[in-house]
């Protein structure tokens, strides 16, 4: 493997342009994690390591005061996170079938680098709303 840096996957990404960093990869990750349930899924998988689909759904509901997560939404969010290589899954050859979801190595790093942002937004929101 050489150390030569190539253009990104989409052929539109360079490390920098005129000494201005290339924000295309950051944009791609932000677009993904800004979708509803993405950060909650990363949070649960970071905490629980390996989780089955049913348990994942149950844990997402734990954080809700109202409403439900549809299977269609949850499945599509899991598929998007898998496509981006953030989560992975293992299928066990059992009857009934058993599937476990977990953070990939990339997902574990992502969960670390978004922690300061998540912690601050939670703290900041509730400080703003301190009652006088």
């Amino acid at each position: 493997m050489t150390s030569r840096i190539s253009k990104g996957k989409d052929n539109n990404c360079e490390k920098e342009n005129n000494h201005f960093p290339c924000f295309i990869p950051a944009q791609r990750v932000l677009n993904l994690i800004s979708k509803k349930w993405s950060i909650q899924l990363i949070y649960i998988l970071k905490d629980c390591k390996r989780v089955r689909y049913k348990n994942l759904k149950k844990q997402l509901h734990r954080g809700l005061r109202i409403g439900k997560i549809s299977d269609a939404t949850l499945s599509s969010r899991l598929a998007e996170l898998m496509k981006e290589g953030i989560i992975d899954r293992e299928v066990f050859a059992e009857i009934p079938p058993k599937v476990e979801y977990y953070l990939s190595q990339k997902g574990e790093v992502l969960s670390e680098v978004i922690t300061p942002l998540i912690d601050w937004t939670i703290k900041n929101c509730h400080e703003e709303n301190l009652e006088t």
Copy 2:
């Protein structure tokens, strides 16, 4: 001021629910910064401290290989970031009018907490694309 934590602005936000953190404020910030040009604007203002509109636009173009940013998009992004209290502006009583944009105190903290994410996405994208 008491230390009692109230519900968030939108009356839908609590610090946690059944020991699961409330991700509503994180979601709000992610929705905003995942919009095109938001992270670039925060990056420029972090670097340059105070910037006039024309210079802001010029600097955004510096990072582009192709394309242009429309005034409508740039103005609406600036307005959204101001509404959320992330950037602020000072209007000088001069002819021609002079307006300077800068990061608010909240914006400065935000620029710090998103740095690990941005740095990692840039590094990670280009590492993935190392040629063999």
